[in-house]
């Protein structure tokens, strides 16, 4: 995470996400998948093919791509279908867009009710016998049962969670890095799924993306760094107020 300043002098914190060898693996049509839209399978981060059996390499051989560590699905409209085998780059996103980021949260293991659900526990003194971090009562007398989904101790973390509506501040086209506002679930160097935001307030901002994606062998030559309009670039002189 890194600090970033706007032209008015305000400071924001930013997470760096690297796009590492992403390729489109397969196109699944609407009827095949049984959902409302067509799906595209995308894989990221190359990994050695020797630790899995030959049967698992089927998808990667069809696309002509080395074995990937993670395969995710994206719901896609019919005009945004991409041929399997095309690489995806960080320039697919542009500064000023809003993005949802999904990842597996840091695993904390088996945790008690105070850390996992934020219960208050009991006082440390004044006669409490062996009860300082326990849940207390778990149901009422009238219910005469414990409801499903009761918050109790258990394994915490290591589940998929999404942070919504994160602004993209900057994109580096050489190293394929996206600078995303705020924090992102997951530990450092973990794999993360980045998707156009589906929040109703962000639908207007995502109006002119490179569609269906940014092709590296196309005619467009992008500069090394793409900045958002409000962001302070370090080539400018210091901020002054008038």
């Amino acid at each position: 995470m890194m600090p970033i300043w706007t032209k008015s002098g305000k400071r924001h914190a930013v997470t760096l996400l690297k796009v590492q060898d992403c390729h489109v693996l397969r196109y699944v049509s609407k009827e095949e998948s049984g959902g409302k839209t067509a799906k595209l399978l995308v894989g990221g981060k190359n990994v050695s093919p020797f630790s899995k059996p030959e049967a698992a390499h089927q998808i990667f051989k069809e696309a002509g791509v080395p074995r990937k560590q993670k395969v995710t699905t994206f719901n896609v409209t019919d005009d945004a279908i991409i041929k399997p085998g095309t690489p995806l780059y960080a320039a697919h996103f542009r500064p000023g867009q809003f993005v949802d980021v999904t990842a597996k949260t840091i695993g904390k293991g088996f945790q008690g009710v105070m850390k996992r659900w934020g219960f208050k526990g009991q006082p440390a003194s004044h006669g409490q016998t062996k009860t300082h971090r326990r849940p207390g009562a778990i149901s009422t007398n009238k219910a005469s049962k414990v409801y499903r989904g009761k918050k109790m101790p258990g394994k915490m973390g290591n589940i998929y969670r999404t942070s919504f509506g994160l602004k993209v501040w900057r994109i580096n086209t050489i190293h394929d890095i996206i600078y995303v506002n705020g924090s992102v679930p997951g530990h450092t160097n973990c794999l993360v799924k980045v998707r156009d935001s589906q929040l109703p307030t962000c639908k207007e901002c995502n109006k002119n993306p490179p569609f269906p994606t940014f092709f590296a062998d196309g005619d467009e030559k992008l500069p090394e760094d793409l900045f958002d309009e409000e962001m302070f670039q370090f080539t400018d002189p210091s901020v002054t107020y008038t």
Partner: protein, 247 residues
């Protein structure tokens, strides 16, 4: 022939050859790499530190950040939307330098009208318009937080102080000042060995000093897992930073 000879025939001793001290070489030997360039120990991808360093070098090309240590007296002008002239000047002694990368900070302390004031500035913030070094002197410690519990005369500096002139190739002088403290209680127990402070004149009785040594951890300096040898990393980063600044 000599009139008053020694008796023994001495061989002619030629005069000693003049030693030429090249001042330019001396200047180049003194290197200063700002501590926020050195990456901390951890499992982060070095690419992240490389991107940060590029931004830091870019900022240094536009705005000059002078070389300074803890103990220097600095004057910082920042842009302030609520001030009269839209800018704000603060003079103070640098107590500590923290943070790595773009978020590196330094804390300046001064006593203004009997009120101690400390301001924490970010080195790479775009609101800073000028940093001037008024007085160059290193102190015996890296962290001068104990000035909060010292007598206020040690933290007062004149707001309209003139910068002290200094030659470029001289070493930064070390001020071996022993600071006198206010009576206890202090904000931290500065006599304990974990703070390793050499710049205080402790006027405590011997029994208190001995009791403080109970908390010493003499095994820490031999702990090999805590060692972080930064010499090779510093060499690489020094070359990278110099090349970046020359362009």
């Amino acid at each position: 022939c000599r009139a008053s000879g020694d008796g023994k025939s001495e061989k002619f001793q030629p005069p000693p050859k003049p030693v030429i001290i090249d001042k330019q070489k001396q200047r180049a030997e003194r290197r200063f790499l700002s501590p926020e360039f050195i990456p901390p120990r951890g499992r982060t991808d070095p690419l992240k530190y490389y991107m940060e360093r590029k931004d830091m070098i870019q900022r240094r090309k536009v705005f000059n950040i002078p070389e300074f240590y803890v103990g220097h007296v600095l004057a910082v002008t920042t842009a302030d939307p609520y001030a009269n002239n839209k800018s704000n000047r603060f003079v103070g002694i640098c107590i500590q330098r923290g943070g790595k990368g773009l978020g590196a900070t330094f804390v300046l302390r001064n006593v203004i009208e009997d009120q101690g004031v400390e301001i924490c500035y970010e080195l790479y913030s775009p609101r800073i318009q000028a940093i001037e070094v008024l007085k160059l002197e290193k102190r015996l410690d890296d962290n001068l937080m104990y000035l909060r519990d010292a007598l206020p005369e040690y933290s007062t500096f004149d707001v309209n102080m003139k910068p002290v002139s200094r030659l470029d190739h001289e070493e930064v002088p070390v001020n071996e000042l022993q600071v006198r403290m206010k009576p206890k209680p202090w904000s931290k127990r500065w006599e304990r060995p974990k703070y390793n402070i050499k710049g205080i004149k402790f006027e405590l009785p011997e029994s208190k000093m001995k009791e403080a040594q109970k908390w010493s951890q003499p095994w820490l300096e031999f702990d090999m897992l805590r060692e972080y040898d930064t010499s090779k990393i510093e060499e690489k980063i020094w070359k990278e930073v110099n090349e970046g600044l020359k362009k």
